[in-house]
């Protein structure tokens, strides 16, 4: 399914939560990435129909699902979508089975419902818990129920609103993979909203970066990482070393202690050294700027070292903006 936004915006009084956005989303797994308060959840809720845009039009394929000027606003339950929430949004008084079956009520017969629900629960590996209430499950299990509820309605699009934020680090990584496999298996499209850039990098075919109500860059994770449009994206995603502030940058993995092909040198003083398990992150001062790079050995504070930087990986922002 292709999603097309035309001049979609949201104002709360005089506050512009989302500035007019024109965007076409074609990839299968898409992440909306941004800091809290940048308008990413508002954008997602406008896609879901939970928040009404103050202007603009939204199309799912060729179907108009929202238009301010033509007064079209398809209700959330008619948009053929599903949604997974940060706090799960499971109905506490219903069993797992009933929660998953809920979206099917009034759509398919009871026997069919049972089959679909069991199928969905099987996909998230929770068949055993069908009779339990959400309150009796762990956070990860509850999120799986929410996922099962989403896939049960066979949506064209599943929206994930910070769906993994409430889970702990290990569980989060497990769930990432599971979500990808499951969503792929039902042939649906997914849009994730997150503030976690590793999550965005790992899960998506393309990323939409937002900052204070605006889309600042869209592209594949690689494009965004290696060629950020502006200094906000450069600083927000990954670690950045500036050659000249706000103008030319290089990522830490392209800075070395030993000469390589196409490298130039500069001298630096070690300021701090942090162990990251598989390597050390070293903070150095060079030409009055703070840089970061990785090494397999710790370095003493105050140590003078020589850095070799890969010239061809330097990314110039001015070139992009011009």
């Amino acid at each position: 399914m292709k999603i097309h936004l035309k001049g979609v915006e949201k104002k709360y009084g005089n506050v512009q939560a989302v500035k007019p956005i024109d965007l076409t989303i074609e990839d299968r797994f898409v992440t909306i990435l941004g800091q809290s308060g940048c308008g990413k959840t508002t954008l997602l809720k406008m896609l879901a129909g939970l928040t009404e845009p103050t202007a603009g039009e939204i199309y799912f394929d060729d179907t108009q699902i929202f238009s301010q000027s033509q007064k079209v606003n398809v209700k959330p339950n008619r948009r053929e979508i599903a949604m997974v929430f940060q706090d799960f949004g499971l109905w506490p008084h219903m069993t797992v089975f009933d929660n998953v079956a809920f979206g099917l009520r009034g759509k398919v017969s009871k026997s069919e419902r049972t089959e679909i629900v069991h199928d969905a629960l099987k996909k998230v590996k929770l068949e055993q818990k069908a009779k339990m209430k959400p309150g009796e499950l762990s956070g990860g299990q509850q999120q799986r129920v929410a996922l099962a509820r989403a896939i049960a309605v066979n949506p064209k699009l599943i929206l994930f609103d910070e769906a993994l934020s409430a889970l702990d680090a290990i569980l989060r990584e497990e769930m990432r993979e599971e979500i990808l496999t499951i969503v792929q298996s039902i042939g649906s499209k997914a849009i994730f909203v997150t503030h976690d850039q590793t999550e965005a990098m790992a899960m998506s075919d393309s990323i939409i970066v937002m900052n204070s109500g605006e889309v600042v860059q869209t592209g594949t994770p690689e494009e965004i990482y290696h060629s950020p449009n502006n200094s906000f994206v450069a600083n927000f995603i990954g670690k950045t070393n500036w050659l000249e502030e706000q103008e030319r940058m290089i990522r830490p993995e392209h800075v070395h202690l030993y000469p390589q092909a196409n490298t130039t040198t500069r001298s630096a003083v070690v300021r701090k050294c942090m162990y990251e398990g598989d390597r050390y992150l070293i903070f150095v001062e060079t030409n009055g700027l703070l840089w970061k790079f990785y090494d397999h050995h710790p370095h003493m504070q105050g140590e003078r070292i020589k850095l070799y930087i890969e010239e061809n990986t330097i990314h110039s922002l001015q070139k992009q903006e011009a």
């Binding site: 339950n77 949604m83 940060q86 706090d87 109905w91 506490p92 008084h93 809920f102 009520r105």
Partner: protein
């Protein structure tokens, strides 16, 4: 589409306007409009009347005295219930709500029967009371015994919230315990205290039961009794009543405004994460004895004495004779339940009116609470304020407004002088309870529940039947019971708006106590408080169950 989207708001808006806003406008209109033009004559004539200042002074002083006494009672109680071994006994809080839930007129009747000449005090102690109870001090005492639980619960909750990590932080960074208390705990406590105290003030000003029973005996007139007097005794003076109502209303609004300013400026998020009160209580024997003794004395004075008096009186064969087994009879109760007797009729009226009123109120309250949600949009806030109006505005002002509005000549039809009048009055007066109970049940749910419903439910009926009713049912039922029980014993509205020759249990108790068979009245009072206590326990039970399932 526009119409459809605004339909729920419009419907609720019209209902609430007719119920709550129109009566208030009627009061204002009656006071300031004369033959269609603006006039301040009636207000001025009331203000020029000397007795108005006496009344105002009486009311305001009473409020201050009651704040002082309730503080003296409630603060130690709150400390005892958070810092000593008694902190464990949560059931005590249910007991403490009993005096607050007891109709004030019944409480003061109990005290009058106990302290009056030849009353139970003299009978038990075989001596005159060492002080004159029938004075302002006595009235302040009776009212405080009714209102202290409110202050106590607010202070206790404030203290509990402050505990947790705040407490730990003061232990680590602070110095002397007393200085810690003054520097860290007290400022955090003070905003809760001021808010609670101002609400006590409003409640005292709006109170009718105690001034009508006890105050009248000692000639202490306040706003509410004066308004009632202007409307019920010759010469009837409606414009004086409305003017006085407006003054009372302004005072309450002003206090409410101050309360709002304070709460906005000085309330802090005192909920600091893990507030497990894990420190073991190791109280010395003396502290245990003193704190238990204090709790017992307060309970004895606020429940024991008045309840003893009304129960004893309801059982007496011949009043005036001593309390003894030979002087005990159940005949007043059998009279009460004799089908066709005036007392049985009054009780049934009360139950009927209260049943209909609370059912309608809960339906409106449920819809309003669902619509209000988090109150972010203007129409939501508007409905929120309107539905909670009668929390701030004294009941008697609403009653005056309802009388005026439903008597207006231009109305094509009126409910005045029908059984719908008391029902509508109860709905208006007690709507906030049903709104608040549903709202608090809603607030315990995750905010994304609404969004889950919107995305997954196929239609609104499924949402109503499968989600809201099962999820909020217990909260709604608790709200229904609360509305039912307070409607059932409502006094001031019933005295003023009941159709001729219709009585409710409250007016029955009141008239029997004033001039009639006191024992009969007290039998009815006992039934009323028993029903009240039963409801308190049921509501408590429902809410605990609701908390557990969520």
């Amino acid at each position: 589409m526009i119409v459809r989207r605004h339909a729920p708001f419009t419907a609720l808006f019209i209902i609430l306007s007719i119920l709550a806003v129109a009566p208030l406008l009627a009061v204002i209109g009656y006071t300031f409009l004369e033959d269609g033009s603006l006039s301040f004559d009636s207000m001025l004539s009331v203000l020029q009347n000397n007795s108005i200042f006496k009344t105002m002074q009486n009311s305001l002083l009473l409020g201050l005295y009651v704040i002082a006494l309730t503080t003296c009672i409630a603060l130690p109680l709150a400390i005892i219930r958070t810092k000593t071994i008694l902190a464990k006994y949560d059931w005590l809080d249910i007991i403490f709500t009993i005096p607050f839930m007891t109709p004030p007129y019944i409480g003061s009747m109990g005290w009058i029967l106990f302290m009056q000449h030849n009353g139970y005090y003299e009978q038990i102690f075989q001596a005159d009371a060492p002080f004159t109870f029938f004075s302002v001090a006595g009235m302040v005492f009776i009212m405080s015994m009714h209102l202290y639980p409110f202050l106590y619960l607010m202070l206790k909750n404030a203290l509990l919230r402050i505990d947790g990590s705040f407490q730990d932080a003061t232990l680590i960074y602070g110095g002397h315990p007393i200085m810690n208390w003054i520097r860290a705990i007290l400022p955090l406590l003070i905003s809760s205290y001021v808010m609670a105290a101002l609400l006590i003030f409003i409640k005292t000003l709006a109170e009718f039961g105690t001034p009508a029973t006890f105050g009248k005996r000692i000639g202490y007139d306040v706003f509410t009794t004066e308004i009632h007097g202007y409307l019920s005794h010759w010469p009837i003076n409606i414009s004086a009543a409305t003017s006085l109502s407006l003054i009372l209303l302004s005072v309450c609004m002003l206090i409410w405004y101050i309360q709002n300013v304070i709460s906005r400026k000085h309330s802090y998020g005192t909920l600091s994460g893990k507030s497990t009160n894990a420190n073991q209580m190791k109280d010395s024997l003396i502290i245990r004895i003193v704190s238990s003794g204090y709790v017992l004395i307060i309970l004895g004075l606020s429940i024991g004495v008045p309840y003893f008096s009304i129960i004893a009186t309801s059982l007496l064969k011949v009043r005036g004779e001593a309390l003894s087994l030979s002087n005990i009879t159940f005949s007043h109760y059998t009279d009460l339940f004799t089908i066709g007797s005036s007392s049985f009729q009054a009780l049934m009226n009360s139950i009927n009116f209260a049943f209909v009123a609370s059912t309608i109120a809960v339906t409106i309250g449920f819809c309003a609470a669902l619509y209000i949600q988090d109150g972010k949009r203007k129409p939501q806030q508007f409905l929120d304020v309107t539905s909670l109006l009668s929390n701030i505005i004294p009941g008697i002002v609403f009653v005056v407004g309802l009388i005026l509005f439903w008597n207006a000549a231009w109305l094509p039809a009126t409910i005045y002088n029908t059984s719908w009048m008391p029902i509508v009055t109860y709905i208006v007066l007690f709507l906030p309870y049903s709104v608040q109970y549903t709202k608090s049940a809603l607030s315990q749910l995750h905010p994304s529940i609404h969004q889950s419903n919107a995305v997954f439910a196929q239609n609104s009926w499924i949402i109503l039947l499968k989600i809201w009713l099962p999820l909020l049912g217990q909260g709604i039922l608790a709200g229904w019971m609360m509305t039912f029980i307070i409607s059932m014993r409502e006094l001031v509205g019933s005295l003023l708006i009941l159709p001729p020759s219709v009585e409710t249990s409250a007016t029955f108790i009141f008239s029997q106590f004033e001039q009639g068979d006191v024992s009969k009245g007290m039998a009815m009072a006992v039934i009323t408080v028993l029903l009240t206590i039963l409801c308190i326990f049921l509501i408590e039970l429902l809410q605990r169950k609701a908390l557990r399932t969520n």
